[in-house]
Structures are given as C-alpha cells and as structure tokens.
Assembly symmetry: C2
Homo-oligomer: 392 residues x 2
C-alpha cells in the first residue's frame, strides 16, 4: 500500500533559497547512496520543503531503518498520495485509516485528523479539512464500516493520528518516524576523526556527521583485535555517513618505540602524552591529504586521572588544525546513551582491549615544554613516522 | 520536619580514594559558597559516599533549588535520620510516610519501600527491611492509622516510594530530586569562556561548568544593552559555578576600527573573521593571566552561512591554547533546550541585538593566509589591543 515516503527536514528549511537547494541535493544524494549500500532502488524528488521517496512496498521496513539514520532528516512518513480533490482525499484517508485500525486490532480506537497545508493552494483550511475528514471517518464507522469497532475523537492523545499534508498533491499517513535531525552529511565540509575501538570516538564521529560533516576515519592500529572492532564500528557509522572512509595506519611499532625510549630515560610517565601528541600529528597530516578542515577526537574531561584540561592542552599544543571535541561537555552516562542509540556500544564493549604501553602512573598535569622536548627526543630516534603507508 | 539533605554524587564515586576525597572537599566547598550567596547557613559533612547537609527547615525549598544547580550532584533527598535500630527506623518511616500521604491528600495511595545499604553494617538485608517496614506501614493503616485511606503496594510505579538509606545511621525520605550530574566545579582546572548576550555561549559555559571546570567569563562589550543582558546571564550562571568571575572588556572601538579599516581597502567581507581572530587573541591573553587551561566558545556549525568548518579553522588558526567548543555536535533545538533548562534562554532572547559591524556578505570560506594578513594590517593601525583595561 505504501510505496512512497514523505521526508521532512528541519534546519535546512531555515536557510536562504540557494543554500536550501544545495542542501536538498546533498541530502537526496546521501539517501541514494544509503539505499544503494543495501541494494534498494528508489526514486527521489523534491517537493515544496519536503522530499518524496518512491520505493518498492516490499522494502518499506528496511527503508525506514535506513532513513532513521540519515542526518538532516527530522521525520518521515510512509504515505499514500492522491490529487488535491476533497473526495479523493476522503477515499484515501479512509483507506489509510482502516488499514491502521486493522493493524491495531482493538475494539475501541481514539483518533484525530491533523492536516498541514505546506503550500497554501487548497480552498479549505487545515481546520476545515480536519473536521470534514474526521466526520466522514466517524460516519463510515457508524454506517457501512466495520461495525464492531467504536471510534472516538481525542485531540490530545489519540491512538491514531491521521496526517494529511497538502503540497502539490495530498499525502496521507498514520505514522511519523523520527530521524536524527541535524544537517546532511557533506553539507559542511569534511573532518578527520581519530577512531579507536572504545566507546567515545565513535560517538564523536557520529555527532560530527549529525552536524553535516563528511568524515575520514583514521584508525591507528595497535592490535588485530582492535582493528576487528573498529571495522565493525565503521560498518555502523557508514549508515550515518555513507561517504565515510576508513584509513588504517600501523601504529604498534611507533607506540612500542615511544614507550621503550621514554622508559630508558625514566620518563615513561609521559608515554600517553607523547603518544597522543604524535597521533595528532599523524592525524593532521592525513587531514591535509584528504582535504579535511579539522580533526575530531573523543576527548572528554575527567573519565580517567590523566584526562585533565591541562593534559588536553599539553597534547594538542602545536597542532594548527582545529581540534573538535564534541564530547567535551558530556557526562559519561550521556556518551554511553548515544553509543547505545547509534549502535556502537555493544561493539565497543564486546572485548576490553588494554593498551600495552600505558604506564602505571601517567602524568596528570603534564608540562608543555617537557612534552615537546620528549616528543622531539622520541621522533629523532624513530625516524619518519609518516613513512608507513596506510594499510587500507 | 526535614532539616537534613542527603546528597548523592555520581562520577566522583568511581575515582580512586585520594581523588574522591579531594572531589568531595571541592563539592562541599561549592555547596557552601552557593548557600552563602543566598545567605543560607548550612553545615555539611561527608558520609560514606554521600554528603549530609544540615539546614534550617524554613530554608528547605530554597536549598532544593540551589542544590539542583550544583555540578557533581546526581540526586538528593530531604531526609529524617535515626539510629540503626529497626524500631526507630519503623517509627521514623511511619512519620515520614504519613506526612507524604497527607500532602498527597488522596483516598487511595500506592507505595513501596526501597532500602539501600550503602554500608553493609546492618543485620537485615535491603529486601528484608523493605518487607518488614512495608508490612508495618500496611498494618498501621489497617489498624490505628487514618482509616479512610486505602493503601496498596505497587513495586513498579508507586505514587510514594519510601526510601531508606542505611549508612552510619538510617536516612528516611520520600522525595528524590535530580541534580545536574557531571563533576564538581573546579575539580578540573579553569577555562576562559567568551560570553556574549546570545543563546549559545551561556550554554557552552554551563556545559564546561558541568564537566568540573571553573570559569572566567570574558565579555567583549559592544553596547550597554548587551552588557546588561550579560550581567543577568552571569547571575544565572553563578548558580552553577559560584566561583565564576565576569570580566568586561571594552571592544566597541576596536570593532569599529576593524570594520572601517577593512572597508577602506574593500575587504569588509572579512570583518567577522578578523574580529573573531582578535577576540580569540584577547581571550588567550586573559586565559594566561587568570590561569585558565583553555578557551571556550559557543561555536557550532551551520547556524548561519559564515559558521563553516573552514571559517572555524581560519578564525582559530594561530591560537596555541586549546579551544573548547562544547556545542559543536549539537543541533540548534538541543542548544535551545539546554538554554531553557538552565534559565538563560529568556534573557538571551529578551532583546535581539544586532552587531553593527556585520557586513552584508560575510565570507563563507575564508582564506587563512589572507585572514592573517588582514589581521596584521588592522592590528598595526589600531595599536595595542590589550592596552584597554577590563572595565570590571
């Protein structure tokens, strides 16, 4: 019955006309790419501040779960469309309503009609349409309709809201699915995300995607198990940014060298700081190569003793690209909630991998001069860190 | 009846013993400062993973609204305490329960008892206490109690949950208020926040406070009306960080000069970029002077045409302090929600102030070399931007 989906977007609508057009094109393209990834064919066109996607009925369920993850979409509804003719609207409304009543399978059902005139090109007002269609539905159920169901109008909290949107045609529906909101991926340029197998960085990646950034995910590989988890996380994140790329860089040897060199001179407490400084340098280099306009990390404050403001400063000092830390204002419980919602939490927590190089007592208030000096010391001894080619 | 409040904190509890002690002291101090601001006297001590605040009954309502805003507090309850003696607990529980029943003023009330043994120093288990006290309450209402009220046990969704926490003594309560969560302000060092009269930057300040940062708020004043709004916002934000300072720096003359100088050479499109670069330089200078370990801004992506990733890069290039942008991953609706919740939204939107210097067509993809050059050109002509002393 439903082979069309009416897609509503939010913030895009606020923009100037030119920007809105550009954003609509990007959103359409993202939806196409996402459908293609799951081998679903679809046709998509722009209505007045809406998109209309046409797919095969049989794919509807999968399409719903795909659209739920595409940034820029605020909500969407599988719809039946008809001409802007009151009789046709009535017929369609009854059909759609009846189907939903049957799905519910209950004796008493409360409902309301909610019309929105997206374009003001229809002789009746929204309120008039609500009243007219509502009355027709009530009459139908009293008359020739399924006699054993009692209908009641409830404007506040009905079990069925029959929606009608008046645009170029009329679109009738009973379900509204929520999207992730935000802006279409790639409408705001690209960022490079340092992606690990933990809980935080996948959430950071998602939040930047939600704000319209295309992503290049860079994993600095320390172990095979870590990479396996990251590859699973990548598959989940691609649902949000179908254009996302995963780069893998072999980092184990570098980290091992950092730890050993610092231990030799009794400075192993600085291992994490020097390691992260070098990670950011690698990230910055790849950000340049891939046309990214910033680096994103899962940094947040106070989860472990060494995650101090001071250490964030000591680690990112000397990086000229902006470092985006979308988790900086979030509590751990909030980060975990998002990770669960987006589907990365179970992968991240499936197997806890401990970094072999973490010293027993990491520095909690690093000194920036010292960190710079130790980094130089290490880099002089391990050679060109960027000579390694990405593994993929 | 209630002159004590049992305060629960979350993340602090996870830390090592030493860190936890330090955090508890900071939290106690923050609570004292907040009470002092409203001229409320209180006595506060540490229990086992809880704080106990003693205040005058008559202040309880105000104390609740103060505690609701203090970062680091997960929840709290006005309590009546008694010795760890089952008969005393029963008597206290009945007293507390009766009071709540009377407040509700209903014929039928559902309830449950929920005991937590924070210290395991009591002979009965939590379940045993629940059962015993629950039965005593039921019996009381059947017998000598207020005969016209019907009590029912409901373990899932009761109208009254009678809470009992077993610590050094027993603490009995029926209300649990939620706090803002996060970490105690000043447990994580200080940040300088660029504070304007708009919706965003107060939310950014709040989020950093919530993550345990002390704050120095710097307002670059352009108009008296703007400053008036900022001073009101400051009063609201001080409820979250009672140690917060507001610095005001006269910026109008500098901004006027930037605009005029750029207009003369036909580069007024770069006004906002050069303005914000200079703002960040002033912020960095004050961050240094006040011992802050980072700069916080209300930056987010895509609200207006010039808020692009590229421009964020072009603006913050050359700043060696980390720039925290806690709103970077949030949608406008999410930012507005937080602003409403914390109480700054109505002030921010009370009077829209437009910046006089914004050009008609601001650059949307600035060039970093050019921005640097224009900034140098401007700075050479307006002299030492830091010679202005803060107004307050």
């Amino acid at each position: 019955m439903f082979n069309k989906v009416l897609i509503r977007y939010g913030e895009i609508g606020i923009k100037s006309r030119g920007t809105r057009r550009r954003f609509e094109e990007i959103l359409k393209n993202n939806i196409k790419l996402a459908l293609k990834r799951y081998e679903i064919e679809g046709n998509i066109r722009t209505l007045h501040r809406r998109l209309l996607l046409e797919v095969d009925d049989s794919n509807l369920e999968r399409v719903v779960s795909i659209l739920e993850k595409i940034p820029g979409i605020v909500s969407f509804s599988p719809v039946v469309e008809c001409n802007l003719d009151l009789e046709e609207i009535e017929r369609t409304a009854l059909e759609v309503f009846l189907r939903r009543v049957r799905e519910l399978g209950r004796d008493t059902v409360t409902f309301r009609v909610k019309t929105q005139r997206v374009k003001k090109n229809f002789p009746l007002t929204s309120v008039e349409v609500n009243r007219y269609i509502g009355e027709r539905i009530l009459k139908y159920f009293q008359g020739a309709g399924p006699g054993n169901i009692t209908l009641k109008v409830d404007l506040k909290n009905p079990e069925i809201t029959l929606g009608i949107e008046i645009i170029d045609r009329a679109y009738v529906f009973t379900e509204v699915f929520r999207g992730v909101g935000g802006l279409p991926v790639n409408s705001q340029g690209k960022v490079l995300v340092l992606l690990s197998d933990g809980i935080d960085s996948p959430v950071a990646a998602f939040l930047m995607m939600k704000r319209g950034c295309g992503t290049v995910l860079l994993h600095l590989k320390i172990s095979e198990e870590g990479l396996e988890k990251v590859e699973k996380i990548y598959q989940v994140l691609r649902d949000y940014d179908p254009t996302s790329k995963l780069l893998v860089f072999d980092y184990r040897g570098i980290l091992k060298a950092i730890r050993e060199l610092l231990e030799e001179i009794g400075e192993e407490r600085y291992t994490c700081i020097v390691c992260k400084r070098i990670m950011l340098k690698i990230a910055q280099e790849y950000a340049k190569r891939f046309g990214c306009e910033g680096i994103t990390t899962g940094d947040n404050i106070g989860q472990v003793a060494s995650q101090t403001l001071r250490n964030i400063y000591v680690i990112s000092e000397g990086i000229s690209y902006p470092v985006f830390r979308p988790l900086i204002g979030l509590d751990k419980v909030e980060i975990v909630d998002i990770a669960k919602r987006i589907g990365t939490y179970n992968i991240s927590t499936s197997k806890e991998l401990r970094c072999f190089a973490v010293p027993r007592y990491p520095v909690t208030r690093g000194d920036v001069e010292k960190a710079r000096e130790l980094e130089r010391y290490v880099l002089e001894r391990i050679g060109d860190i960027l000579s390694n080619k990405p593994l993929k």
